[in-house]
Structure formats: structure tokens, C-alpha cells
């Protein structure tokens, strides 16, 4: 966390320097274009080597993008010095084009499917297979070191190919991906001699057993980050213990459910320098002696600032964590079923907390404890323990939300699942915390109004966008009329991502957003009464956005065809369900800008218009 903050500061320093250089350069151009004296020319000239050096220090891909637009020289200097490329939509560009422009890439981040695929709204075989990319990388970037994938499909064969094609390969991160099994992981463990990072997080894995972990050779010592919480089957504990014992630089270790408390204690005894720990289930009946051992080993782990796991934790053993709690900045309890008093007792020991994820079993009372004990809190996520069982109605309400806002004025990121909310509460929250950058509120019953006044929740989200000028991401819910979207269009000038479900009254709502939010990049809409007029009002806009998703709205095939015809640089994809007749409705529409043209790997259920 600290290092990325430093990076950002450094980046902004460099940005400032660059701005000066940019002004100098344009002055230089002006000077060249008009008759000038030799002296002024020499004063403004800037050696390329210095410029290259400055540009090469840039990390932010947005800064690099800006730099590359200044002039041809800068474009070339930037492309030769770029080592990390971020591709937010794998279909917006082809691997050949990327390799052509950036010859020196060592690290790639690729994102694939639309975000709603997380909620089963995208068909299984939709695409985003990484293999074609790997083939090009093997040819053009043989020294590739890092690959980070999100919502992509990667097969075991691809993992094997990866493991054998890149001798310098260091870091693999798979988040929300699918298509592979533990055999693929075995290939990585076996062949990647220089691996420092293996981060397997929230994927749909075909778990064939834990043998993969034993594939790390005895001579292998470079691992620094190991996250296999996702891979649930039993692994060979001896192999893991030896692995953590010989990887002296290990700083992140997140184990799976199969690791018992006693085993965890043994691992930690060997790795006191850990900064991030995922504890696995944290459940076992401990003898007092074992408990003491656990406590003392936590006492030795002075560097742990991030803690997760705790899936089966019993309140009884939480005190063992107290020695670690005092330096915690990120506590992820989102899989731990805790009651309010258990959380309260723990939080007393967590004064440094910046980020907290919990289940709503902690109730409003638990959130009051958050407000009382964590004044530095910046991010809160409250997940529902029973989102689909309508009989079990517990969880947090507007009261908990308000309580946190009073105690945590620095809060800027919230994800809040609840079953009731009021306009007044949200208004109070943003008055207490005006710095929200990410505001994601999910009132779980679709189209539910303010439960006290029965009014729409328009006022709530109006307050959010009016008060929180730095807002970049917004998810709305509850009963909303077009008024909400008018507010968004009028005030949310920094908004980049908007998620809408079961809301709005007419096309006008969506039109307001498209016309009013200059920085909008991602718009995802489901089950709203927005039709062709709304879709087509964004004609000019979509090229400046990454993507648009609309499902179960009132858009027709003809509307989509018109969009596709008018905007050739957009891919307009319509997903058709099997057996549904062509009744003119375009049920799922995904629109994105692309310089690669229509994709060639679309399955038969996806029509590119």
C-alpha cells in the first residue's frame, strides 16, 4: 500500500516535470516555425537522452498515453521505453498490434469478459481466451516476466505453453478466470524456475487435487507471493512447509481451507517476515498449549498488515490475533461469520485499519463498533451472508451505514449490501464523508423505495453526486426515476464507471448520463426501460468509452444495427439465447471500441453486427 502511494507521488512529480518539458517542447516547435535567434534555440533544446530517461520513469499507463500524444518523437520514445502494458478489454486491440507498437514489454495485464459475467449473465463460451495472446508473446516477448489476467479463459494447455515459453517468467496472477485445472498449476510450479508470484484468486478452477503444490522443485527458492486460497483440495503439508521454509523472501502467503490452525502456526514460525496472511479456515480444537504457541507465533509476526481467510473462525480464538491486529491496515472478514460483539471485541485492537471487509452477520451493532474504533478507515465492504434466502432477514440497515460515517470521516470507498435504506441516511452519510470516490450501494430487493417515506431513492443518489465531487465509480439501486440520472448527468463530472439495475423511467434517464458525464468509461445497465433512443443518443460517446453493456432493456436489433452501421470503429455484439426467435429484441448488448475490428472467435450465440 505504502509503496504504491510513493509511486503515485513520484509519478506526479514526474508528471509535473513532463508538463514543463511539454511546454518547453511546444515552445521549441514555435521557435522552429518562426525566425529566431540562435541563442533562444539553444536555450530551449533538450537532449533526447534526458527526455528518454524521464519518460522511462513513468509508470502510470494514463500518463504514458498522454505523453505519446504530444508528438511523433515523444510517441516513439514512449513506446520504446514501455515495459508494462495494460489492456482493459482484450478485444479492443490485437496482440499483433500491441507487439508492433511496444517492443520491450515485460509485464502484461489483460482483462476479458464484461463484468456482468461475474453474475452469470454472460454465456460460458463467450470468449476472452488468452491463448492467441500467448502465442504472439512467445514470439515477440520471449523475456516476458509478468502476466495478470482478469475474467479471461485460460486452459491447462495454455498454462503449460506459458510455463515452457518464457524462461524469465516471474509472476502469474489469475483473478476471476476459468478454463483451467490444478494440472495447469502443476505445470507452472514445475517449469517456472524464477517464479516470484503465484496469485490464484476467485477463479472457477477444475480442482483435481492438491498434488500441484508438490511440483515445486526442492531447488526452488524464489517465491515471494503465494495465494492458493482458491484451490480447496488438500495439499501435502510437508511440501508446503518445506517450500515456505526455503523461500526466505516470502512476504504474502494465503493458504486454503485444508490448513489447520496448528499447521498455520508451524508455517508462520518459518515465515516471520510475512506482510500479508490468508489464514485458511482458522478452525481447530486447540489445547491451551497449542493456543499459546499460536499466540506467540503471531506475536513474532510484526510485519503483517493484511489479514484474510478466517472462514470457520470461532470467536474464542480471535484473541490470538490481537498481537497482529495492532498493525493491521486491511482486514478481510468477508467469509467469516461473526456476530456484532465478536467483531467489536476484535476491532478494539485494530486502530490502524484502513480497509475492512465484513459479512452482514455483524449487524448494525458491529458497524457501530467500526465507527467507534477505526477512525482511519478508508474502505468498507459489507457483504450479505444470505443474499438469496428471503426468509432469513438479518443484516445491516441504514443505521449501521450512518454509524460508520460518523466515526470514519476518511471513508472514500464503500460497497454496502442491505435490505432497507432511506434517503435521509444516505444524505447524512455523504455529509459526513464527502470524499467518496467509489460508492456502491446495493439495496437487495429490486426497485425498493425509501422504506420510511416510500419515496424513490432519487434524493439519496442526488446527494451522493452533488456532495462527492471526486466520485469515480457509482452503483445505484432501489426504486429510481429519471431524476436520479438527471442528477448524475448534471453533477458527476468525474464519474468513470456506472452500474444500473432495475431503475429509471424512460430513455431520458440514460440520455442524461451519456450527455452529462464527460469521463464516463464503463456503463453497465440491466433491466431498465431504456430503448433505442437512449442507445443511439450515445453514438458519439461510445468511442471515448471502454464499453457499454445493456441487458433486458428495450433495445431492438434494428437499433443495434443502426449503431453498428453509423460507428464502424465500435463492435456491437448481441448475445442471443438458444431457441429464442428473432422477435426483434436485442436481449444482451455489448458495445466496445476496437482497433482490431470484429473478433473472429465469437461463438454462434454472439452476433457481431
Amino acid at each position: 500500500m505504502e509503496s504504491s502511494k510513493l509511486k503515485r507521488e513520484k509519478d506526479s512529480q514526474i508528471s509535473d516535470e513532463l508538463n514543463e518539458l511539454r511546454m518547453e517542447s511546444s515552445e521549441l516547435k514555435k521557435a522552429r516555425d518562426s525566425p529566431i535567434s540562435d541563442e533562444s534555440y539553444r536555450r530551449s533544446s533538450f537532449p533526447d537522452e534526458v527526455l528518454e530517461r524521464v519518460i522511462s520513469l513513468l509508470n502510470s499507463h494514463r500518463d504514458r498515453s498522454s505523453v505519446s500524444l504530444v508528438c511523433k518523437d515523444w510517441y516513439n520514445m514512449e513506446r520504446w521505453s514501455r515495459t508494462h502494458v495494460f489492456i482493459g478489454n482484450c478485444y479492443s486491440v490485437s496482440p499483433e498490434i500491441v507487439a508492433q507498437r511496444f517492443p520491450k514489454i515485460r509485464s502484461v495485464t489483460l482483462k476479458g469478459k464484461p463484468r456482468f459475467s461475474d453474475f452469470n449473465l454472460v454465456p460460458q463460451n463467450w470468449g476472452a481466451d488468452v491463448h492467441a495472446w500467448l502465442v504472439v508473446f512467445a514470439a515477440k516477448y520471449p523475456f516476458l516476466e509478468e502476466l495478470r489476467l482478469k475474467r479471461m479463459t485460460i486452459s491447462d494447455a495454455s498454462l503449460e505453453f506459458l510455463a515452457s515459453s518464457f524462461p524469465n517468467f516471474k509472476a502469474l496472477s489469475l483473478l476471476s478466470c476459468d478454463g483451467f485445472s490444478t494440472n495447469g498449476l502443476a505445470a507452472i510450479a514445475t517449469h517456472c524456475k524464477n517464479l516470484t508470484e503465484l496469485d490464484i484468486h476467485e477463479n472457477d478452477i477444475d480442482d483435481k487435487g492438491g498434488g500441484w503444490l508438490s511440483c515445486f522443485p526442492e531447488s526452488f527458492t524464489s517465491l515471494e507471493v503465494l495465494n492458493f486460497a482458491n484451490v480447496t483440495s488438500d495439499i501435502n503439508f510437508d511440501a508446503l512447509e518445506r517450500l515456505t521454509g526455503r523461500c526466505k523472501s516470502m512476504r504474502v502467503l494465503k493458504v486454503n481451507r485444508s490448513i489447520s490452525l496448528e499447521q498455520l502456526q508451524r508455517l508462520l514460525a518459518n515465515a516471520p517476515h510475512l506482510t500479508e496472511l490468508g489464514t485458511g479456515s482458522f478452525s481447530q480444537e486447540l489445547t491451551p498449549h497449542q493456543y499459546e504457541d499460536l499466540e506467540s507465533v503471531f506475536n513474532n509476526c510484526k510485519n503483517i498488515h493484511t489479514l484474510s481467510g478466517l472462514w470457520e473462525v470461532k470467536g474464542l480464538y480471535l484473541p490470538a490475533l490481537y498481537p497482529v491486529s495492532t498493525h493491521l491496515t486491511f482486514l478481510n472478514l468477508s467469509y467469516a461469520v461473526l456476530q456484532s460483539d465478536e467483531l467489536a471485541k476484535l476491532l478494539v485492537h485494530c486502530p490502524q485499519l484502513r480497509r475492512l471487509w465484513v459479512l452482514d452477520t455483524v449487524d448494525d451493532k458491529g458497524l457501530e463498533a467500526v465507527g467507534s474504533n477505526c477512525p482511519l478507515l478508508e474502505e468498507l465492504r459489507v457483504f450479505p451472508a444470505d443474499p438469496f434466502d428471503e426468509e432469513i432477514v438479518h443484516g445491516v440497515t441504514e443505521a449501521g451505514f450512518v454509524a460508520v460515517s460518523y466515526g470514519c470521516p476518511r471513508l472514500h470507498y464503500v460497497l454496502y449490501f442491505c435490505r432497507q435504506m432511506t434517503n435521509a441516511a444516505v444524505t447524512t452519510v455523504v455529509q459526513n464523508c464527502p470524499n467518496f470516490t467509489h460508492f456502491r450501494l446495493c439495496i437487495m430487493t429490486p426497485g425498493q423505495p425509501d422504506y420510511l417515506t416510500n419515496e424513490p431513492m432519487d434524493e439519496a443518489f442526488g446527494a451522493v453526486v452533488k456532495t462527492c465531487r471526486k466520485l469515480r465509480r457509482l452503483s445505484v439501486s432501489g426504486y429510481l426515476t429519471d431524476l436520479t440520472f438527471e442528477h448524475i448527468g448534471r453533477y458527476a463530472k468525474n464519474l468513470e464507471t456506472l452500474s444500473v439495475a432495475f431503475a429509471g423511467s424512460s430513455d431520458w434517464g440514460m440520455q442524461c448520463v451519456l450527455a452529462g458525464c464527460p469521463k464516463l468509461r464503463k456503463l453497465e445497465i440491466r433491466d431498465c426501460p431504456f430503448g433505442n433512443a437512449a442507445l443511439l443518443s450515445g453514438l458519439e460517446k461510445y468511442e471515448s468509452m471502454r464499453s457499454l453493456w445493456m441487458s433486458a432493456c428495450n433495445v431492438t436489433m434494428n437499433g443495434c444495427r443502426l449503431l453498428a452501421r453509423e460507428m464502424p470503429r465500435l463492435n456491437v455484439e448481441v448475445m442471443k439465447e438458444e431457441g429464442s426467435d428473432d422477435d426483434g429484441r436485442a436481449d444482451k448488448v455489448y458495445v466496445y471500441r476496437s482497433i482490431a475490428g470484429r473478433r473472429r472467435d465469437a461463438p454462434s450465440s454472439v452476433l457481431t453486427l
Partner: protein, 197 residues
Amino acid sequence: MEGRMNYENDLVNLKATELRLGLPGSDEPTEKKMRNNKRSSSEISEESRTSGVTDQAAGVNDEHEESAPPAKAQVVGWPPIRSYRKNCLQAKKNEAEGSGMYVKVSVDGAPYLRKIDLKVYRSYPQLLKGLENMFKLTIGAYSEREGYNGSDYAPTYEDKDGDWMLVGDVPWEMFISSCKRLRIMKGSEARGLGSCL
């Protein structure tokens, strides 16, 4: 006597006042849930076509759909919980519900039923504290002679024989093994119950 008669009427009407989310006539919400889990791809397409909200039993209950207000059936991909988290929660619930002891709790005047796991509690005071926290009310102390006199609410439960008892009358172990559901009554009504031993 008076109190007891009222109480029995209340019993009869209890089911009518019970607020549940489902089509009138559909008595088993759990059945609906099971059907939800067996969702097939053709059902998904059916759902998407009708704006994502349908009654799971659309095929069977079409006539009911016309006349009845729309049921709160499960919607595809809503609430927006990642599949990974959903699967973890489901696995946890399957484990828990195997070993837990869930009973419904209703509170006079509250719109929702709640469910609690009796296994979580080890004694009456713990249970009462839990109920007080959950419903934000005061139940006070139990006394053998006077029940919960002096407090606004009194917890009662239905036992295996279908009788309504005051919570605290029997030893904890017996209570745990016989309690089928809980009802927190307004104090005034409960006083009648407590006096009829």
C-alpha cells in the same frame, strides 16, 4: 381465561398475519428455493426474455401470474454477488444447516420473520440477549412465578406438541430439543399466558 381465549385466536390468525414473500397459495418457500438451484439454461433464457424477473414456476402457474401480484422470485445474477462467493456461501450453508438448529422468530409488530440458530446459544440469558440485540427491544429477566412481568416483551415458543410455552419454563436442554419456533409477544398478551400453568 380471557387472555387465553384471545391468545388462541391469535394462534389461528398467526399464519394469516405471517408476512412471507411468495405467491398466495404457494406454501413452501423452500421448495421455490430448490427449484432455483436447479436452474437450467433454457430457464435462464426464459428469464432474460421476460425482463429478468419471472416466477420460477412460470410454466405451471401461468393463470396465477395473471391475477396475482408479481412474486419475488429469484432473479438471474441478482443480487450482484460473484459466483465464487455464492459458491462459498452455499457450501457453508450446506455444512451449517446440517449441524445447526434453525428456528423462525417472529416479533409482534415487526414486518419480517427472522431465523436463528439455537446451537449458537448455551443458556437462556445468552438467547435472550441475542434476541434483544437482533430486534432492538428489551425482554428483561425471567422469574419462575411471574414470567416476564415488568417488561414490554415476552418470548414464547412452540414446542414439539404444538403447545405455546413461555421461554424459560423448562430446563435449557429440554427447551433446545423441543423448540420449533419462537414468538416474541407484546407483554400485555404474554401476561395471560404466563398465568396459565
